[in-house]
Symmetry: C2
Subunit: 482 residues, 2 copies
């Protein structure tokens, strides 16, 4: 792969990590204070040191006061500090966390016909994934995917690649080069008869050996797993042998890394799991029996869980990635986020491309709100009201919720001292006085009389990548709209 | 209003209607052939005369052949004809029809909290609508709304304005000036106790007189109702007196214009209608008994209809505007499009801003596909499969379906000789070879190996106004991205 790596794409920022400076951000900052409430910090200064860590958050500081009081207190010289001031109406927001996304399926977004999970895999998904053993094609696809999601403010992604080691390593290279925080997983699928012959691991041993190769490779390019980390990835129970799952479970304990898989997405899939694992009480029990259910486990979908399964998942501390766009698109079902929360399960959002068509976690948050209303339609009275998710709740899912799902709580997802600067700058244009060409940059039209809460709601529902003016990961600017 | 009208916004095209020339469009044209199938016409020439009417559609014609054979046959001189060639990967598509949209609610898009219909009306909607008696504010809001929807390829809209005559007339002026085909309705709401005191017609007579004023006004600005036409608009049964509804029904018969209202959107609303009209068998029966159910009636929502109501609506030939974005957002329910079709009812799409947050009929089509899958989730077996709408079906709803709903079938919605040139040019950018900055213009990433069917699916699911390169109504270019 030597040649390909030397030729990796460059990020938006020209500054290399080693030459990074201290930074001062000024303006309005919005982030989740609790699951139910956003906090609006106006006239605020946030100082980020050269390592990308937030070292001060001070309300009531403009540039003058920051230079006079704040920077000296930090021992920073005014001329050495990079300053970014949010313009009128702009605000800084934490970067989004995509807790479930198949980078390898990116070219198929929007292409799913009337299929559901099992036929969708065979018709659309496996052929494309298999084709990415062509490194040139993999590079094009992965680069487009990482660029696109960065442009939508996704600062952290939990990726499924393919079974191919070189292409998986290439995805890790691309994330590191473009600066997106990523968990990169080589897909394990070795079960005879259920994986297509043209796209499967040769044996359980092959699954484990190749997985370890990608872990080792990622350690060579990012030894501390600061930006890119491995994630163990048994595709889902029907495609994995028991031996492979047990091997991955012990590898997880040895390496203390994340593990990701799918659970209870589709009724046909659940039936299949019952047939394949007659000794297990449930789908969740299959993973539990194989040692795969723990605090570092990310379970995608979790739509049709029983009460018992939810209790097991909660007890083990495993997390759920809610993928509303995918679940509606391929008619999987409507996951019950409030119900999962009530069980004590942590939830984040996933685009699940290409089961989901949208690369945007903002869109996933929007669709989480809509799907919660479809869940509500099936309920009555107080339960119906409760099922609906608010603007604040879906934006929490998109940031702090997702951070917890991938084990980065306290590190990303909000603006607090000690956390890292994974952030986006949002701009919502004002309609000019005669209704004319003011709001050309995106679909959000601000008339000027809206409260901050209403502006954020407008952004949630009509915002897109045009409103994301700049994106930073660990202090490094990784995307900007010129 | 004199001053305001003189100062109306200008459309994208500098050519006034009187100086318009014959036009030749070349490239790929895609439109609905049947409800189930799109037709792809490649290497095709479409000739549009100076009045905006399509006079030739010829497959297998490039510029040279068109100039050599086609133009002479039409008696057109080559130098006098305006030519637009669709670039590689671009295609012409019929303009979208928005069969239900409240222009007056445009500033509220995305702002609805956890409300449902009746509290949403009182909390968000009536105060905003009432405030548009301020003509300056109305001009700003309506201009922004018409510009925004044109940019999304909406060439025809069925608008609700407000109860205010001057502001309603202003909306008609703006549509005419900007060139959007529109049905403009002054909202009738006169029922004591159910309309807010600050926002209601004084009496049934006041409702009818003011409605007639707007009809007369529109006749002065567009005598043949070629671009802008009036539409009678009893808001919905709970806000209208029987006398007003009967008066509007006879006005409809006298003038032979469209009428629009809401039906069966929300369960609380349905209960209210039962209470208010105890003598009626159903919600549909209320309109039927008042003479408002006919072939020129556009009924928005129609979610919770009974079998009997559907039979009545079908028998009368009334049409339904399906508003999936709104219905999910304010938890109204999931309308059953396949079921409506099975009953023999014609269906189109509505954005229903601001119950719906999106200004885009492409997005409405996308959400119609998703909502149909939520309908499917509640069904089993063959019924479940059937409930799902295909890409082709939702794009039919957005064009020919909508045209029929507003009585413009045979005039707009497709590319055939004798129809008018209401069209949009769609461009889907190609990802460059290293996955880099090829696909910056919008969110659709084309890799080059996709079939035309897959390209259209990608556009449906990830397309936005950035892919709509130019828009024409009746031959006039009314929007273009520079």
């Amino acid at each position: 792969m030597g040649d390909m790596i030397r030729d990796l794409p460059a990020a938006a920022s020209s500054s290399s990590p080693t030459t990074r400076r201290n930074q001062l951000f000024l303006g309005t900052f919005v982030h989740s204070k609790t699951r139910e409430a956003l906090e609006y910090l106006h006239d605020t200064a946030v100082c980020v040191d050269a390592s990308g860590t937030i070292v001060a958050v001070k309300v009531g500081y403009d540039l003058r006061r920051s230079e006079a009081e704040l920077l000296p207190r930090l021992g920073w010289k005014v001329g050495d500090v990079e300053v970014r001031v949010g313009e009128e109406g702009q605000f800084f927001f934490p970067g989004f966390i995509d807790t479930h996304v198949h980078a390898s399926q990116y070219p198929n977004v929007g292409i799913f016909g009337k299929s559901t999970l099992l036929d969708w895999l065979n018709t659309y998904t496996f052929p494309l994934e298999a084709s990415l053993k062509d490194q040139k094609k993999a590079k094009r696809v992965y680069t487009a995917c990482v660029r696109r999601t960065l442009a939508h403010g996704t600062t952290t992604s939990a990726y499924y690649a393919t079974i191919d080691v070189d292409a998986t390593n290439l995805l890790a290279d691309i994330c590191l080069a473009l600066g997106q925080r990523a968990f990169v997983g080589r897909v394990c699928m070795d079960r005879e008869g259920l994986c297509p012959e043209y796209y499967k691991d040769e044996s359980p041993q092959d699954s484990l050996r190749k997985t370890r190769e990608t872990v080792d490779y990622i350690r060579t390019i990012d030894p501390g797993f600061e930006i890119v980390a491995p994630i163990l990835t048994p595709r889902f129970a029907p495609s994995c042998s028991s031996e492979a799952m047990r091997g991955l479970a012990s590898m997880q304990k040895e390496l203390d890394v994340l593990v990701q898989t799918h659970i209870s997405e589709n009724e046909g899939e659940i039936e299949l799991v019952k047939e394949l694992f007659p000794e297990s009480a449930s789908y969740a029990d299959v993973y539990d029996a194989h040692g795969l259910l723990g605090e570092k486990t990310v379970l995608a979908h979790a739509i049709h869980l029983s009460e018992e399964e939810a209790a097991t998942i909660a007890e083990r501390g495993a997390k759920v990635s809610h993928c509303p766009c995918s679940n509606s698109s391929i008619t999987s079902g409507a996951a019950r986020v409030r119900w999962l929360w009530d069980k004590g399960i942590d939830v984040g959002l996933g685009t699940d491309m290409s089961g989901g068509y949208s690369p945007s976690i903002l869109d996933a948050a929007r669709q989480a709100a809509l799907v919660s209303r479809h869940v509500a339609m099936g309920l009555r009275g107080q339960e119906r009201e409760r099922a609906k998710l608010t603007v604040e709740e879906v934006l929490h899912l998109a940031t702090r919720g997702g951070a917890k799902v991938v084990g980065l709580q306290g590190k990303v997802g909000g603006f607090q001292v000690g956390m890292q600067w994974d952030a986006q700058l949002i701009g919502l244009p004002l309609v000019d006085e005669d209704g004319g060409r003011g709001g050309e940059e995106g679909n959000v039209d601000i008339f000027g009389w809206e409260s901050w809460e209403d502006r954020v709601a407008k952004w949630l529902f009509n915002g897109d990548d045009r409103n994301t003016k700049a994106v930073w990961v660990k202090g490094r600017m990784v995307h900007s709209r010129t």
